[in-house]
């Protein structure tokens, strides 16, 4: 199914616009999009990283988890939105490079998991700022989520970089 969609998208007029590299201006879209993408990765990585290290009790102890979450959530969602837009541009420009790529697919699965964890953080702390501190079980759960989120984010960055090396087009 994804193969069919990839082929349809590859032949679409939108993709044709991006892949017209004879014009310098359309050629520029991809490098610019990738630069914005990596800068947003830096924003998300540091923000999510701080939240997770705070939950693990490793860093950022001068602020409560709820305070940190309040500060950082807008950065996380803002950067994720830009990541989604630039990522979509890169995918539409070269559908086969991304959609058929095991690095890309791994990245999307990990991304879904980390977004879910971030949503859990946001919802729970909004309801109750001390949600994760009430019982040893909650604290344990917080540590599990934080560890998973940290590992997944490293995985997302690694899978993202490796997309370039796992391109299955041309053989």
């Amino acid at each position: 199914m994804l193969e069919g969609f990839t082929e349809w998208l590859s032949l679409s007029r939108t993709t044709a616009i991006f892949s017209d590299t004879t014009s310098f201006w359309t050629w520029l879209i991809i490098p610019i999009s990738q630069c914005v993408h990596i800068i947003c990765v830096a924003i998300v990585m540091i923000s999510v990283g701080m939240l997770n290290l705070r939950l693990l009790g490793i860093g950022g102890m001068r602020q409560s988890f709820a305070e940190l979450a309040r500060d950082l959530m807008p950065w996380i969602w803002g950067a994720l939105t830009l990541l989604f837009i630039t990522g979509t541009i890169q995918t539409v420009a070269e559908p086969g490079r991304e959609l058929l790529n095991v690095g890309f697919r791994t990245k999307m699965v990990l991304l879904a998991a980390t977004v879910a964890i971030t949503l859990v953080y946001e919802r729970t702390v909004k309801k109750d700022p001390h949600y994760w501190e009430h019982s040893p079980e909650r604290r344990k759960m917080a540590q599990v989520l934080a560890t998973l989120s940290l590992v997944f984010w490293i995985g997302i960055a690694a899978a993202g970089r490796l997309i370039a090396y796992l391109d299955v087009r041309h053989g």
Partner: protein, 163 residues
């Protein structure tokens, strides 16, 4: 010029460089670590830069933010540099001919000079403005410059791959 090429050729011919070049997975693996370290450098330093510019964490002392962020910046910078040197050693003559590579190195140098000036001049008086939501102009300026330089480093780094 010939001496430079000679040195680069010598680096190029080292067994480690040869291994990285010849291996299917080494360059991608090293590059992945390099990139992860760089996003942590950028993410952490820009948090401090934005505090200096009065854009984030306005209610937190500058020294507190700096103590929280800089260990991450430095550790990641060392990791990024070591792994970056490994990447570079695998094709130093190629990189020698890429303008974005030169610009990236110059920007890192400028970021370093800016940081030293800030550390040894502006930061000396931090006690007077540590809790100011909006630090004085020299501190704001240092933060803005640092952000421009580091964003430039990352952009040039990404563009090296397009040449």
């Amino acid at each position: 010029m010939d001496t430079v090429i000679g040195i680069l050729q010598w680096i190029n011919d080292q067994p480690l460089a040869d291994n990285i070049r010849g291996s299917y997975w080494m360059f991608p693996a090293i590059e992945t670590i390099h990139v992860i370290a760089i996003v942590i450098v950028l993410g952490s330093i820009t948090r401090l830069d934005m505090r200096l510019m009065g854009l984030v964490w306005r209610n937190r002392p500058v020294t507190e933010v700096s103590e929280e962020m800089l260990p991450w910046t430095w550790t990641s910078f060392v990791v990024a540099t070591v792994f970056g040197l490994l990447l570079w050693s695998s094709k130093p003559i190629d990189y020698f001919q890429i303008a974005f590579f030169d610009v990236k190195m110059i920007l890192i140098l400028l970021a370093g000079v800016n940081m030293l000036l800030f550390q040894f001049v502006t930061f000396k008086t931090v006690a007077q403005w540590d809790r100011d939501p909006l630090p004085p102009p020299p501190a704001r300026f240092a933060g803005a410059l640092s952000m421009v330089f580091w964003l430039g480093v990352v952009i040039c780094g990404r563009l090296i791959g397009f040449v």
